[in-house]
Symmetry: C2
C-alpha cells in the first residue's frame, strides 16, 4: 500500500504533465524539490512556496545522525518547519561523496517511515561513470537486494527505488525491469550528477531513455540531483517528472547565478538579464556590495525564481504542445546540449509510441534534427503502411503556400482527371493533397530553404516509397506534361470521397475508409471554410471531423462499421465485464478495468471499447498509451464519447 | 552642429555596445525607446526608468496638432513629464496608417527643434513592402529632398534621417549613401513594421545590412518600430543600436504578453514562465480577474520588464562576446527566424570586417550555420593566404581532446622528424598544431558529430587548400604509415619557432614571422602552462603573448622589425602631424587625427602607428575598424601600448 498516487493530465513527446497526490498535499509535475539542509539556516522551508515549490526534499541520513530523537518524537515535518509533501534522500549521495555511511540500509528506510516522510528513498549504491560494466552490475545487484528488503518494511510510505547502472543503458534497463512489481512508488534515476558535471548530456539521454522504457509508467520518475534549468526541457521531454537540487543554495554561496541558458558568476556580470524580484530591485553592482550573508540569500532567491520560472515554462509548453520546440531552443545553449538533442531524436522510434496523435500546436521545422522528430517518423511510416495509391504514380506539384488544397483549388478539376496521386513535397515527405488538412501537416511551419541533410533524407524517402508502393514519385513532370502524356480517367476522382478514405485509413488503418464509406455517401461541409465536417452513409452519421487536427471522430454508426470490418485486436480497448454496463451508458473507462489494448494505438486516438468477447460497448478517445494501461490502477483510460447498447 | 555624440565601447559581430550622449543625459545602447502617447494617460514617463528605459520617443505630429502652443511655451520635456533624452517621430507613421498628414516637412522639423527634442525625425515617405521598385525609388527621392531641406534648419537638434527603400536592398543602399555628408546625426531604418508583421525576417536582414554597409558608421542606427524582443539579438548583431515600440502598451490593451520567444494571449496562459515583478506577484488567473484598466497596466509593466531584460541580455552578451550564440538560440523560436539567421551568415563576408580579432569568449559550433560564421570564414581565408606549409603535405592526425598540442605532446618528437604539417581536422578546417592555441580555435566547443552540410563543407575546403597551396591534405595516412613512407628530416622541426612564425604570419600577414625572428631567438615560456609568453631576438624583447587569445603583442623592437619588413600600407594607421608628438609619448590616437588605415586590419588588431611619411611613432591596439576611422570625429582609435621616439 502507498499513500501517494500519480495521474497524467497531459503529454508531449515522452513527457507528462502530472499530478502527484500525497497525504500532505498535491504536487503539479514536472517540478523541482528544493533541497533543505536540516543543519543550515538558509531560506526557510515556509518561504519556498512563493517561488513555486510544492514539495521539498531533505536528507534523512543527516537527520538520523544529528536529530534522531527529535525527529522520531515530533515528525520530520515539524522538525524542518514544512507542512507540505516531503521526500527524503537516504545517505547514498553521502556515500558517493565521503565513501561510507554509518547507517544500515533497512535501518534508514524504517527511520524515514517512522519520521513520517511522504516519499522515502532506499540506500542504493551510487555507480559513478568510471565504474566498469562489471563493477556497475555488482553495485546494481546490491541495490536490488536492498530495494527488495526495503519494500518489505516501507509501511504506507511511498518508497523511492533508485535506478542505477552507471553509464550503461543495458544495466539501467535491467535495474528498471527488476523494479517492476517490487512495490516501489517513485523512481529516481540516480548516479547522474557526475554525468551532468562532465557535460555528457548525450549519455544522460541514453540513461534516461533506458530507464524510462523499462519502468512502471504509472509512477513518477525523478532525475536525482538535476537542478539546473538547462536540463529541464530535455529531461521533461523524455518523461522525467521530478528534479531536485541544492544548486540554488550551493551556487549562491559560491557567488554564482543560474539562468535558463547557463551559470554566470555575479562578479562577471555588469547587467543582469533577468527581471526577477531580486534582479529588478538590485543591480549586480549593488549585489556585489552587500554583506556576504545577505548577498548569498539574494542570489539563492534569484536562483529559485529562475529555476521555477523554467519549470513553469516546461509545464506550459506541455499544455501548448510545444515542448519539443522549447527543448530544441534550450539545447542550442551549448554544443554538448545540441549533441544531446540529436541523441533524443535518435530515440524517436520509442518517443513516437508516447507522442499523442495530435497536440493542438504547430510543428516548427528548425534544423536537420526536425526531420527526425517522431511526428515526421510517424507520418512517413503511415504513408508507407496505410496510404493506398491504387497503383497510381505520385505527381509532385510545385510548392505553393499552404494550405495546399486551397492553393491548388483552381487545379483540382484538371487534377481529378489524371491517373496520378497529386502531392506536394514537404519537409515530412510528399503529402498527397487529400491528406493536407491533417495534423501535423496543416499545422507545420517549414522554412523555404531546407538544409542539405533534410533534403537528402527526403530524397531517400522518395526511393523508399517507390519500392514499398511499386509506383513512381514523379518530380520530373509538370502538370502540363502529365496531361499530355497520360490517358485521362474516364471517371474523374471525387476529391471529397478520396479525402475521407485517405484520412480514415491514415488514422484507423488500411480498410477503414472502405468500411466506413460502403453505401450511399453524403458529405456535409462547413459553409465558411469549405472543409468537411460530417460524413453520412446510408442516412446515418458515421464520422465527424475534429476541426483542430483534421482527424475523424467515429459516431456510433461509424464505430459499428469499423468494428465489423477491422479484426481484433486492432483499434480495440478490451474492458472487463464489470465495466461494460457503465460504458454502454456512456461512462468513461477507468484504467483498472482495462484488460488489453491494440499496441498500435496512440494517446488521443479514437478507439473501440469492447468486452472480452469483442462485443462493441462504446467509442471514445484514448487518454493513455496502450502500454500505460497495463500499469495505471487509477484514473481514466478512455474518455467515452458514446456508449453502444447491446 | 549637433548636441549629441555616439561612441563605441564594445563590439560583437557587426553589433556595437555604445554610448549616446545628449543634452539631457547619456544612453547605453543597444536600447529601446518606449513610445509615449501624449494623449494617453498610461504608464507615466517618470516611471519608465525603473524598467531600464533611458530615453523615450513621442510623436511630434500629435503634439503639433493638439498641444502646439503649450509645447512651444514650456518645451516638450515639461509637456510629457520627462527630463531625460527624448526623440520624436514626425508623422510618417501616421501618413502610413492614415494616408496623409496636415503638416509640411520643414514645418514639423522646425517644430521639433523649437520644442527642444534631442533627436528629431524628418517627415520621410514610408515605402510599404508592396511598392514596386520604381515606386519605392520615387518615394525615396522625395525623402531625400526633405532630408536635405530639413538638415538646413535643424539647428543644434540631432536630426534623424530615415533610411527608406522598401524591400529593395539596392534602394536602401542608395538612400544610405545619399545621406553621407548630409549632416544627419541618427539613422532610423524605416518602413520595416509591415515587413516584421509579415514575418519576413530574412528580408529584414537584407534591408538592415544594405543600410548598415552604406551609412556613416559613427552615428547610431535605429530600427524604427521594432519593439519585440524576438528581433533584438539578430538586429543588434547586425549593428542596430536603437529600437522603439508602443508594443508594450498596444499588446497590453489587447490582452497580450510579450516573451523573449514570442507573444501569448493572457487568456491562453495557465502559468506564466516569467519571474518579473508582475508575474511573480500575480498568477495569470489573478490577472484575468483584475478590472480591465488595472490588468492593462500590469500587462504593460510585464511587457516592459521582459523587453528591457532582453536588451540587457543583448548588451551583456556583447560584453561577453557571445551575441552570435544568443542570436542563434533566439532565432530557433520560429522557422522564419531560423531562415533569417541563415541570411545573416550569408552576409558573413561583410560581418567579418566588423568582427573583432578576438572576443574573449568561446566559439560554440551549434548547427550547419555555425561553419559559415565570420570567425570560421576568417580562419579559412587566413590559413589559405597567410600560412606557409613550405611545400609539406598536411598530415591529418586522428581527433583527440583539446588543446591539441597537449594531447599530442607525447608525439611531438616523432612528428618533428616528419616532412609534413601535422594538423587536426576541426569544424574550422584543418588546424596545424602550431596554430592551435589561437582564438577561436583553442576557445571553440565543437560537438563530436558534425552535420552533413558541415562535413561536406569541410571536405570541399580541403580541396581548396590542396589547390591553393599545391600540397596534399593526407587524411588517408596514419602517423605510423607516414613514418614508414616518408624520409625523415635531417633537422627536426623546432616547434616553438614554428609556432611563433605561424601565429605571427596569421596575425600580421605573410613575412611577419621571418621579420620578427631574424637573429638569435630566445623563447620564454610559462612555468605553469608551458605556453610561450615572450620572444626575445638578439637580446631584445620583440613579442609578448596575449594569454586570453593566443595572439602576439609586438613590443617596440618588434614593431620596428615589422615596420622595416612589411611595406605600407600594411599594418599601418597613419596619423596627422599634430598627433605625432603625443603618440610618441605613449598617448592614445584619437579618431579625428587618423588619416588612413590598412583596410585589412580588424578591431583589436595590434597596429603600427606611423606619420604621413611612414615614420613609426607608436605601437598599439586598434579599437575601431579601418572603415569607421574615416568617420568618427570623437573617441579613441588606437590604444597606444608604447610610443616610439624618433
Amino acid at each position: 500500500v502507498s499513500s501517494t498516487s500519480f495521474e497524467i493530465l497531459g503529454r508531449d513527446g515522452a513527457g507528462r504533465l502530472g499530478r502527484f497526490k500525497t497525504k500532505h498535499g498535491v504536487v503539479q509535475t514536472p517540478t523541482l524539490l528544493p533541497v533543505i539542509n536540516p543543519n543550515l539556516n538558509f531560506i526557510p522551508p515556509s518561504e519556498m512556496r512563493k517561488f513555486g515549490a510544492e514539495m521539498l526534499i531533505t536528507n534523512s541520513y543527516i537527520i538520523w545522525k544529528r536529530h534522531r530523537e527529535q525527529a522520531l518524537a515530533e515528525g520530520v515535518h515539524k522538525l524542518i518547519g514544512w507542512d507540505g509533501p516531503l521526500m527524503t534522500d537516504s545517505g547514498t549521495f553521502q556515500m558517493y561523496m565521503y565513501g561510507s555511511v554509518e547507517v544500515q540500509p533497512q535501518e534508514i528506510v524504517a527511520f524515514e517511515r517512522d519520521i513520517g516522510v511522504d516519499v522515502g528513498t532506499i540506500l542504493d549504491i551510487f555507480s559513478t561513470p568510471d565504474r566498469t560494466h562489471d563493477q556497475a552490475r555488482t553495485d546494481l545487484q546490491e541495490t536490488l537486494v536492498r530495494a527488495r528488503a526495503s519494500a518489505q518494511i516501507k509501511g504506507d510510505m511511498a518508497l523511492a527505488c533508485t535506478v542505477q547502472g552507471g553509464i550503461y543503458p543495458d544495466l539501467r534497463a535491467e535495474c528498471a525491469k527488476a523494479y517492476q512489481g517490487m512495490g516501489a512508488d517513485f523512481y529516481p534515476i540516480g548516479g547522474v550528477v557526475p554525468i551532468m558535471e562532465q557535460q555528457r548530456y548525450a549519455t544522460l539521454v541514453d540513461v534516461i531513455v533506458a530507464a524510462k522504457q523499462n519502468l512502471d509508467p504509472s509512477k513518477p520518475v525523478h532525475l536525482f540531483g538535476a537542478g539546473h534549468p538547462l536540463v529541464f526541457p530535455l529531461a521533461a521531454l523524455l518523461g522525467c517528472d521530478f528534479f531536485d537540487s541544492a544548486a540554488y543554495a550551493k551556487y549562491a554561496k559560491d557567488g554564482r547565478m543560474i539562468f535558463p541558458d547557463g551559470t554566470w558568476r555575479l562578479e562577471e556580470i555588469t547587467e543582469s538579464w533577468c527581471a526577477c524580484p531580486v534582479c529588478s530591485k538590485h543591480t549586480p553592482a549593488e549585489l556585489k556590495k552587500l554583506p556576504a550573508q545577505e548577498r548569498e540569500l539574494r542570489l539563492a532567491e534569484h536562483n529559485l525564481w529562475v529555476t521555477f520560472a523554467e519549470l513553469k515554462h516546461v509545464r506550459e509548453a506541455m499544455r501548448q504542445g510545444t515542448l519539443w520546440e522549447l527543448a530544441e531552443r534550450r539545447c542550442r545553449a551549448h554544443p554538448t546540449l545540441a549533441e544531446a538533442f540529436k541523441r533524443i531524436v535518435a530515440h524517436s522510434e520509442w518517443i513516437e509510441t508516447q507522442e499523442p496523435l495530435s497536440k493542438g500546436s504547430a510543428f516548427f521545422h528548425l534544423s536537420p534534427e526536425s526531420s527526425h522528430r517522431p511526428e515526421v517518423r510517424r507520418y512517413r511510416e503511415r504513408l508507407l503502411s496505410r496510404f493506398d495509391p491504387k497503383g497510381r504514380d505520385f505527381l509532385l506539384l510545385p510548392e505553393v503556400n499552404k494550405p495546399y488544397s486551397m492553393s491548388y483549388a483552381p487545379l483540382l478539376d484538371r487534377l481529378a482527371r489524371l491517373p496520378v496521386v497529386p502531392a506536394v513535397q514537404s519537409a515530412f515527405g510528399p503529402v498527397p493533397l487529400v491528406l493536407d488538412e491533417m495534423y501535423p501537416l496543416a499545422q507545420s511551419d517549414v522554412p523555404a530553404t531546407l538544409d542539405k541533410e533534410t533534403r537528402e533524407d527526403l530524397e531517400a524517402y522518395l526511393g523508399t516509397i517507390e519500392t514499398a508502393k511499386g509506383v513512381r514519385v514523379r518530380a520530373d513532370l509538370t502538370l502540363e506534361e502529365a496531361e499530355r502524356l497520360l490517358t485521362p480517367l474516364e471517371t474523374p476522382i471525387d476529391w471529397d470521397l478520396e479525402r475521407v478514405r485517405a484520412v480514415a485509413d491514415y488514422q484507423f488503418g488500411e480498410g477503414a475508409g472502405d468500411a466506413l464509406l460502403a453505401g450511399k455517401v453524403e458529405i456535409q461541409k462547413s459553409r465558411n471554410t469549405g472543409k468537411i465536417r460530417q460524413v453520412f452513409v446510408d442516412g446515418e452519421r458515421v464520422l465527424a471531423l475534429r476541426a483542430e487536427d483534421g482527424f475523424f471522430v467515429p459516431q456510433a454508426a461509424g464505430a459499428k462499421r469499423l468494428h465489423a470490418a477491422i479484426p481484433a485486436p486492432r483499434l480495440r480497448v478490451v474492458v472487463e465485464q464489470d465495466s461494460v454496463a457503465f460504458n454502454r451508458e456512456g461512462k468513461n473507462v477507468f484504467a483498472k478495468f482495462v484488460r488489453s489494448a491494440d499496441p498500435a494505438l496512440r494517446a488521443r486516438d479514437e478507439v473501440l471499447v469492447v468486452d472480452e468477447n469483442d462485443t462493441l460497448v462504446a467509442v471514445g478517445q484514448l487518454l493513455l498509451t496502450p502500454h500505460e494501461m497495463g500499469w495505471f490502477k487509477t484514473g481514466m483510460a478512455v474518455s467515452v464519447r458514446e456508449g453502444i447498447k447491446g
